[in-house]
Symmetry: C2
Subunit: 425 residues, 2 copies
């Protein structure tokens, strides 16, 4: 599939669940399946730059037995591993070799996942990109900060990847790269061993070809049963434009309309659900909390290596320094009030449906796009899932976002999976 | 001061605030003051084993200008530093040299603190002691897990120290070592760079000779104004025996009686304040939350180095593995309900007064005592302060604990300081 001779489409996400099914039915061998991913890496990495470091051979040797069958996993390069260096997207950490695996990596390895490498992250998971290209069209951004994790799944280099989200770093790149992305309830995947940016917001999440793949993979990271059977009846969906609706592109308006029409066609009830004004205040509270915490989390870098930080991050940390504890405490109180108010919102609907991003990926490799439709939900700590399957007029993917109550992750994934099928129908 | 020829008392805590006052008044020089601490280290370290590694000379050279005046600070050896190794009290981390400082260390260095070394911690800040002795009598435990931080302040090796508390690892050793200890509201000191045991509970705290010293020192770690003037009027104190009162020793009963009598004599009103039964359930919820999280936080060690973990920790992690997500979620709901109930408790009193420990330090270097009177408050996330100044019949210190509402840390320290003076009167 080629849209333009100069920008061949390199997207070809592969479902790990399907591969496992084919292995179990004897249709394919494990080595053959693994080689498929390794070949995608060999063929496309130079064009896409998904990895900081990779070693498919060593990974296959190290992988232990387990339900993940030794299939390749990409790990965002702000998450520690005991075999690959962890550079946090910063020259400050050149050659930095952690002693231990992050908790999530250990749990995943124990389930039989093979860490094939460290995927490209923006600088400290903030905004400055590090060269990854969008597999659907290399002139477009893959989004960030989990750039390599999203793009690598989209390119079929690995069926599963781990990323993190503080603003919109899982859902946005999933939307841009046309893959499923799942940001769990805050704290559901242990964060130990991931570089902190904002401890109240940082949330580990996953990427895969489909929503059921995300649920399957995340089960091992959370130690919870997240896979599920089909919904008993179609969901009651609240279309949630939020106060940020003016920022959506025409493409996203159409994608949302299509998603809602397809959901209705599959039997769902869709009502519009405006949010009370506390949520607009919560959106403003997000950067206050994030930047206040970031200047503390990055205190060592800020004190000792200020000259090696990019201008955008430096600006944010400078601003973070001016935020008083009183402003921070006030922002936390707003967030708490909004979390309480959100319980009432979910009394009326099963899930909220809202854009995953303003539109398609920016045609600009110096940008990773904006977390406009993600920050609020990260702050609320609720599960968010990017549902892919829709495309814009420029042939680029555009995703819609399922948002559900805190700790209802299994149900949220079940509903997102239902929507994914409705959209594909 | 010697209680017994075989066990000379090596306790001689030094107030950093007093030293700074004497420097400012020209009464002493900075180098002379520093040498006082360095000499205490040279004289007593062999007898007490407060440090894993120390270098007073290098620390003095590195210290930057700032309100802490280059005075020595001890840092618990589960907290990363970019100059000393960080071993977490475990052979698994022999020679482990982190690239960066923990956030708290960077913030403290920026304020002019000199990290003179890494203080002894129990294994991964859990229960297995690593040889530190109590400066008041070397046959007694210093408590744990922040053993070296508490004992080093008590011995006058440094005026300030950083520790952590997940059960009772700041307040208990402070009580046993006769120094002030302050566990702030959960999250007030950034935890980035400290080894996680239980992310919902782990809280960084400080040790110093007096409560005002703790407030002064913690101001730099929190970025908040914690020092304060005297109380306008004596406090309304709720004597809080808790459901664990049967565990207090005769010595502790007397210490509590004395503290309350002295508080009354200084003008305070003291009423008995029983806690509703939800708090007994919260005490039971603590180990469920802690152990469930610990098996995930220590997933790498548990998977790869199980044979190098002590029996007590292994037992806890084995138990942690059997805790279901449902039990964990239920325990978190109990904790949340108890936190709400605690707001009502504080409608009636300014602070709660409760034992810091069951009694004096155990005469047993294989034990670090029990966190019986600490776990609940760590789970509640509220500020706790050990107030020293009382001694038991065996001449060992015994501390009482001030507990205050979340985020009222300044007021809590002010009240604890008032009580410290009342007890000294």
């Amino acid at each position: 599939m080629t849209f333009d001779d100069n920008t061949p489409c390199l997207a070809a996400p592969v479902s790990g669940l399907e591969i496992i099914q084919r292995i179990d039915s004897g249709e394919t061998g494990l080595e053959e399946a693994y080689a498929g991913f390794a070949n995608a890496y060999a063929d496309k990495e130079e064009a896409l730059s998904c990895f900081v470091t990779a070693d498919y051979e060593r990974a296959a040797e190290r992988a232990s037995a387990g339900p993940l069958r030794g299939l390749p996993v990409g790990v965002k390069d702000i998450i520690d591993t005991d075999d690959f260096p962890t550079r946090h997207g910063s020259q400050i950490y050149a050659g930095h070799a952690p002693r231990e695996d992050a908790s999530a990596v250990s749990l995943m390895r124990a389930a039989g996942g093979a860490v094939v490498g460290k995927t490209v992250t923006t600088e400290f998971a903030y905004f400055t990109p590090r060269g990854t290209k969008n597999p659907w069209n290399r002139e477009y951004s893959p989004g960030g900060s989990s750039s390599g994790s999203a793009a690598g799944v989209a390119a079929g280099m690995f069926p599963f990847a781990i990323g993190t989200q503080t603003g919109g770093s899982v859902i946005r790149p999933a939307s841009y790269c046309g893959v499923a992305g799942y940001k769990p309830t805050y704290g559901l995947i242990p964060t130990y061993g991931a570089k902190t940016f904002s401890h109240s917001l940082d949330t580990l999440g996953v990427f895969a070809a489909t929503v059921p793949d995300c649920a399957f993979f995340a089960s091992f990271l959370t130690g919870r049963t997240l896979e599920s059977t089909a919904l008993e009846k179609p969901p009651l969906i609240g279309f949630c434009p939020t106060s940020q609706w003016e920022h959506v592109s025409e493409d996203m308006r159409e994608a949302m309309d299509t998603a809602m029409a397809k959901a209705r066609a599959a039997g769902a009830t869709v009502i519009e659900h405006d949010l009370p004004s506390i949520f607009t205040r919560a959106i403003d509270a997000h950067p206050v909390i994030q930047n206040y915490e970031a200047v503390r989390a990055l205190a060592w870098e800020w004190t000792n290596h200020r000259d090696k930080l990019g201008p955008k991050l430096s600006e944010t940390l400078e601003e973070g320094e001016t935020i008083t504890p009183e402003s921070y405490d006030a922002a936390r109180r707003v967030a708490k009030a909004a979390r309480l108010a959100l319980s009432n919102v979910f009394a009326d609907v099963d899930i909220l449906l809202t854009p995953s991003s303003e539109g398609t990926a920016p045609k600009d490799l110096e940008s990773t796009g904006m977390p406009t439709f993600n920050k609020l939900w990260t702050l609320m700590g609720v599960p968010c899932i990017n549902v892919s399957g829709l495309f814009a007029s420029n042939h680029m993917p555009v995703g819609v976002q399922v948002v559900a109550p805190a700790m209802s992750d299994r149900r949220a994934l079940q509903t997102a999976s239902w929507l994914e099928q409705a959209i594909a129908a």
